[in-house]
């Protein structure tokens, strides 16, 4: 890659969200902002190789995008009263300057607004904040480009027509709105981590990396928020195990069989630092949310030298805490895995069987059951449970893993 190409890539990475956010604020229209910034980057690709990289690429891009936006507005003669009336609302004068007063945060909160459908929030966040192109997002979610284009266009139209505001949520709403943003980012991460689709790679690094990048951005903007720190730690500790999680043959490798030498020590250290920060806050009386507890569970696993070294009582204690916060059957299922280590597979199986009704359609329920039945020596029942899990699993690496485990049954 040439120096200029590298500068453009870096500017895209560092400046996209900032420039889109600034334009959205100035022109009160996401559509105009998105198009103008895309055009400004196209101009940079054309001009920088000949003119050289400007000393301040961000300022150059903002100025160029502003001009493009004004051109478009003039062209469309949209500066009539009707247009002004349809503009997005934002605080004016802005709130006191501080980490929280950042146009990018407004942009994120608008893209993740609860009045938009979840899939629209995901697409809009990746486009507006992440700067991914529509075809890239379409590929990531295995839908047609035109479908994704429609989804994004429709979301932008709703923001405009219903006047979804471009501003920080009120202090009362902030925790719920932050949790909505985190849900979007975790969904992007999980789609990358457990990619579905028959011909898809088991782990899609582009999506996990993008989710981590955006979570880092939110962390920089909301450094005091415990759940933001928790989600970032959780993602880092999962991402750290990526290389060990899929075998050379594309099969998923379970935690107990992973080569822990292949884990990324740097990501683990960063994740552990964040978890320790939150533990200190918890010790000072701030109750941790679910991402922080999930991160702590992953910190326990990534602290163990091998599976036998795992501090299972601590894992179970954390799951007990999590169940109180979130009594969902999926959490109960994961808790049962820790129970199996402490109290044996029979006790765990009783818990898992109690979840049959609600989790019958969930592959991990059958996979967990299959493993417990195998450990108890019930091969025939175990095989049936593996069969069901394989039928339901959407991830190619997982299917391969489950098939091998089934075929190893005596």
């Amino acid at each position: 890659m040439s120096d200029v190409e590298e500068a453009i890539t870096r500017a895209h990475h560092d400046e996209w969200a900032r420039v889109v956010a600034a334009l959205a604020r100035r022109f009160g229209d996401l559509d105009i902002a998105e198009e103008a910034v895309a055009e400004a980057f196209a101009t940079a690709v054309e001009r920088w190789p000949a003119d050289g990289v400007p000393p301040n690429p961000g300022a150059w891009l903002t100025t160029t995008a502003n001009r493009k936006a004004i051109d478009r507005i003039r062209r469309e003669n949209k500066r009539d009263d009707k247009h002004r009336e349809a503009q997005m609302t934002y605080d004016d004068p802005p709130e006191p300057v501080g980490a929280i007063d950042d146009d990018r945060l407004r942009l994120i909160f608008t893209c993740c607004h609860p009045a938009l459908a979840m899939e629209a929030r995901v697409a809009l966040t990746l486009r507006m904040v992440g700067g991914l192109t529509v075809p890239e997002i379409a590929r990531a979610f295995l839908v047609q480009g035109t479908t994704m284009e429609r989804r994004i266009t429709r979301a932008k139209a709703k923001i405009k027509a219903a006047r979804i505001p471009y501003r920080m949520p009120s202090a009362d709403d902030l925790p719920a709105r932050v949790s909505g943003v985190l849900a979007v980012l975790f969904l992007v991460f999980n789609e990358g981590y457990l990619a579905s689709g028959p011909d898809t790679d088991p782990v899609r690094h582009d999506l996990t990396a993008e989710a981590i990048r955006l979570t880092r951005l939110i962390r920089a903007l909301l450094p005091q928020d415990g759940e933001v720190a928790g989600l970032l730690a959780l993602m880092l500790l999962i991402e750290a195990r990526r290389a060990a999680r899929v075998s050379a043959g594309g099969e998923l490798v379970a935690l107990d069989e992973q080569d822990r030498e292949a884990w990324d020590a740097e990501l683990i250290a960063e994740g552990h630092r964040l978890v320790r920060e939150r533990l200190a806050a918890a010790a000072a009386g701030v109750a941790p949310g679910r991402y922080q507890i999930l991160a702590a569970i992953n910190a326990v696993h990534t602290s163990a030298r091998d599976i036998g070294d795992t501090d299972w009582p601590q894992v179970l204690g954390l799951y007990d805490q999590l169940v109180r916060l979130d009594p969902s059957p999926i959490i109960a299922l994961n808790r049962a895995i820790a129970v199996a280590e402490l109290d044996g597979p029979e006790v765990a199986l009783a818990i898992v069987d109690g979840l049959a009704e609600v989790l019958a359609g969930y592959h991990a329920y059958h996979a967990t059951r299959a493993d417990l039945l195998r450990r108890l020596g019930h091969s025939r029942q175990s095989r049936a449970a593996y069969d069901r899990a394989i039928e339901l699993a959407g991830n190619t690496g997982e299917t391969a893993y489950l098939t091998r485990r089934r075929d190893q049954l005596r």
Partner: protein
């Protein structure tokens, strides 16, 4: 920005019928805070008549334009600065009316 706020009831699972005093109090607050433009509860959908005068002659037909389990039980029109304000009020309205609420912007 004006929003049409629809109160949705369900024939097979109707909301409670003792909401009138709470709704009146809520309306008074909406008026005092400057959000209220219009409000009204609607008679049963059986009382509706559909008129089609697109052809030669006006045709009247008995009943609502679409038969459904869920139906419009009442409407508000609110003036609110943005959707966040409207959604917050609508969340309260849903409790006050003991029914689902739809918020839809005017053009």
């Amino acid at each position: 920005m004006r929003y049409l706020v629809s109160v949705i009831d369900d024939k097979s699972n109707p909301g409670s019928t003792d909401r009138r005093p709470a709704i009146s109090a809520f309306n008074e607050r909406l008026i005092a805070e400057g959000y209220w433009v219009f409000s009204g509860g609607l008679a049963d959908t059986d009382a509706a008549t559909v008129i089609d005068n697109r052809g030669e002659q006006a045709v009247f037909s008995d009943g609502p334009f679409v038969e459904s389990k869920e139906y419009l039980a009442g409407v508000w029109v609110w003036e609110a600065p943005d959707l966040d304000v409207a959604l917050k009020l609508a969340a309260e309205a849903s409790k006050v009316c003991d029914r689902k609420i739809e918020v839809r912007p005017f053009q």
